[in-house]
């Protein structure tokens, strides 16, 4: 029956498309995940939502690109880009966050907004408005998986995400330093009474988060391209991902990132590309309404021992 | 569950109870914090709940005031069922409480804290407030003076204008008490009101509780200061691991073997 055949064809095509959407979603989602991890690191230690997180990503990518354009070998450029960004992250804490001792969290968040504006402006002055590209680490030839295809760079992003996730998870859950860092955000004065120095921890977290951002920026640059204002949109998505994951959980951040990526891509593919971002947000609302603390959100400890 | 005979007597009188809680149960994941616990408070009574740490006393308060939904059971207040109500509705019905882990409004002054306590006894809404109608202004004044009166009762008038967060721990406890009283409750739940008070202050508190009771307010008290509990309670319930292990007059309870073993210990002064 022709109708049957037609139906079958639509079915097969749809299946093929969905596979591609899924691949795309995972690719984009793992980029969001890396950024979300950066948010989580600073949030876990200081309680601050760092609006300059996207700028760390931008710095990593842009420094890498300009070094590469000046014939610095890839590996050396990578190391320098990450190191420089890390230093900038630490400096940000030292120069802008620490002096505001005793300020409320909202105030600190506004400071990071200021930092984000400043860094972006400096980026524009240094690198101009144009977008730059970086060659893919292992070529551009697409990898075909079933009926879907991805670029090899995706694998780099995925592997990086996985490594960062595992490392950070172990760090926060298993190491003393990781626990000490979390303690700072939960109760700063009690942490000090344990001999933990919150300002040192905060600096470490900014440095760590900056280096995460930079690594992310470098591995994603070949696919997302690099420009002085690339951070804004990525940070927004990363923030969403982090919240979905519960804001303080590293696996949550990654799960959140992947979820946002896949939903966006499915939404764009199956429903409407115009409403892509809206679809992602609507579904994310649903997630939050079912689990108000995010998928991996911590237990609500606020009502204990009233 | 072994319920003492004296308790059975009370049970038959439950009809006249102000607060009547029947077979309360609360699970937190695997932990059963309160387990088929029934109790009641009659008008004008001071009733105490005691028990080891983690026995479920605060949880009972949380159930009565609607902080946590019940896993099972029923709560009646003044003849009406209240266990499905929201906390603010329960407060409107006339139940106030203080908190073991203080919940003062640190962002407000001492007197403003108490003025919030007057919330359900006043009614200016957002519109009349925004327009600052004469009715709203005069009500505001009445709230203020009522609040100052409550502060006077607990001896904090001199600190009325200070931020509540600047009060020492003990004073914050008293502030919570004043705030709860401002609601003009029929039933007042006090969670460890004497914790952090020195002996003299505890005796003042004791007098204050009598005064409140004499004003027609029933009191449900959780406290580890046995001097206070045994001095003022008309009736005592003892919880252990969420279950009732004894109930009776202070005298009975002090002699109860189970209670001594689980909670009081041998008092060898």
């Amino acid at each position: 029956m022709p109708a049957d055949i037609a139906f079958e064809r639509i079915y097969v095509e749809l299946y093929q498309q969905v596979l591609q959407y899924l691949m795309t979603g995972v690719t984009v989602g793992s980029i969001y995940a890396i950024i979300a991890l950066g948010f989580v690191v600073i949030y876990n230690v200081t309680g601050i939502i760092n609006f300059a997180q996207g700028e760390f990503v931008m710095l990593g990518a842009m420094i890498m690109v300009s070094l590469y354009k000046n014939q610095v070998p890839m590996v050396a450029a990578f190391v320098i880009a990450v190191l420089l960004t890390t230093i900038i992250g630490a400096a940000l804490e030292r120069l802008a966050i620490r002096p505001a001792k005793g300020a409320s969290i909202v105030t600190l968040i506004i400071i990071t907004i200021g930092a984000s504006i400043t860094i972006r402006g400096l980026g524009l002055i240094t690198w101009g408005p144009n977008t730059s590209s970086l060659p893919a680490f292992s070529g551009d030839a697409p990898l075909v998986i079933g009926t879907a295809s991805i670029v090899p760079q995706t694998l780099w992003v995925l592997v990086t995400t996985a490594i960062l996730l595992i490392a950070l998870y172990l760090f926060f859950e298993r190491t003393l330093l990781g626990k000490a860092m979390r303690a700072c955000a939960i109760n700063m004065s009690a942490a000090r009474l344990m001999g933990i120095s919150p300002s040192v921890m905060a600096m470490v977290s900014f440095a760590l988060s900056a280096s995460l951002g930079a690594v992310g920026g470098v591995v994603m640059a070949p696919t997302t391209l690099a420009t002085y204002d690339m951070g804004t949109m990525l940070a927004l998505k990363g923030f969403v991902a982090a919240i979905i994951g519960g804001m303080s959980s590293t696996p949550g951040a990654v799960a959140g990132g992947l979820l946002v990526g896949v939903l966006e891509s499915m939404g764009a593919g199956l429903i409407s590309s115009g409403y892509k971002d809206a679809i992602a947000f609507v579904v994310l609302f649903l997630v939050l309404f079912v689990r108000p603390n995010g998928i991996f959100g911590g237990r609500d400890t606020s009502k204990g021992g009233l | 569950m072994a319920v003492s005979t004296t308790d059975m007597d009370r049970e038959t009188e439950a009809g006249s109870a102000l607060l009547d809680a029947r077979s309360l149960r609360k699970d937190f994941g695997g932990i059963v914090a309160v387990d088929s616990f029934s109790f009641s408070v009659r008008p004008g009574q001071i009733v105490a709940i005691i028990g080891p740490n983690g026995a479920g006393k605060t949880t009972v308060f949380n159930l009565v005031t609607g902080v946590h939904p019940l896993t099972a059971g029923e709560i009646h207040f003044g003849g009406q069922r209240i266990d499905a109500l929201k906390p603010y509705q329960i407060a409107e019905k006339g139940i106030s409480r203080t908190f073991q882990n203080l919940q003062i409004f640190g962002n407000m002054t001492v007197v403003e804290n108490v003025m919030v306590g007057r919330h359900s006894r006043s009614k200016v809404g957002i519109l009349s407030g925004a327009l600052s109608l004469p009715s709203s202004r005069s009500e505001e004044k009445r709230i203020y003076y009522a609040a100052m009166e409550m502060l006077d009762m607990v001896g904090l008038v001199s600190r009325a204008k200070q931020p509540a967060s600047a009060l020492p721990f003990g004073s914050q406890r008293l502030l919570e008490l004043a705030r709860a009283l401002a609601n003009e409750p029929k039933l007042l739940l006090l969670d460890e009101p004497a914790a952090g008070l020195a002996s003299q202050e505890t005796r003042n508190l004791e007098r204050l509780i009598y005064r409140i009771r004499d004003g027609g307010v029933s009191i449900l008290l959780v406290e580890h200061d046995m001097e206070l509990v045994m001095g003022i309670a008309d009736w005592v319930f003892v919880l252990d691991y969420g279950k009732l292990i004894a109930a009776g007059t202070p005298r009975d309870i002090q002699a109860n073997e189970k209670v001594i073993a689980a909670y009081l210990g041998d008092e060898t002064d």
Binding site: I111 | Y88, F105, A130
Partner: protein, 354 residues
Amino acid sequence: MRHQNRIILSALFVVIGVLPFVFTSSYHISVMIFIGIHAMLAIGLCLLMGYAGQVSLGHAAFFGLGAYASGILTASYHVDPWLAMGLAAIFTGLVAFIIGKPLFRLKGNNLAMGTLGFGIIVYIMLVEMTDLTGGPSGLRGVPSLSIFGFTFDKDIKYFYLVWALALLFLILSLNIVNSRVGRALRSIHGSEIAAEMLGVDTNKYKIQILIVSAVYASVAGSLYAHYVTFLSPPPFGFKLSIEVLVMVVIGGLSSVYGAIFGAAATTLLSETLRGTVPKLLSGAGGEYEIVVFGVILMVVMIFMPTGLTSGTLNLVRRWRQEKALRVETREAEDGNAVTGVPRVPEGRTAIEDN
């Protein structure tokens, strides 16, 4: 209203009334018009954030809804602009009411993210509902306002209209803040659980104040629409939400007056930089302006973490205290000399001042 408030308000009235005679250029007047529009947004957000403690990262959405509702009703359906402004406010308030309930199930950061999502969804709708909104290309032909044949065509007239409304909102907000409702809001901020236990229907008040701030934003949006007479989505995006947040915090979270100062400070700062940066750094362009803006934002927040209004007051107070202290320590130690505790948030209930 309290005595102190009356004095500050009268002063504000006078200053604002006189300003257009001091700064007469149409540029200066438009800057002040935009400050007024931003102030309405900031006052609303201040109620929501500074008093009720509920963060919103989507305030631009209400602004956009107001602007577009007015714009569409007047440009496409030729409704009278004033009526349109009222309908827009009702519509926006209704939207706030509808989203309020699910939104306030979320707390803290998640609420921030929920409002952010709301903002983005509204933005996307403005972009995508092309038939209604004109889409990314924008909506043209929004008329200017007029009343009884009196057109608000000259900037100076518009200035007085905008500021009359802004001051009205300010007064309403001060009244709310100093009423039972304001106290309930702050108690929610302090401890939601305790507030609820004292009979405060926390959800109701959160939604009410969300509606109030949404209506303020809507009116601001309508005023924007009839002033610029062209609407397109970008001014109603995430960036504006953040800017309003910055205004509120710069002004001082817990002061309604602060919202006005915050709006003024941020708008003036970026406008002043446009003129001064190229003079200071010769040949410096827009890039340098935003860098300087970012740096100043940080510096202000670092040195005045409680915002400009209370920050300045605190500096003065601290300076005075330091002097007083030096005297005091030398004086006899007289028990409990407890006066003027620092960091008492101002603008708060103190009926005795009456």
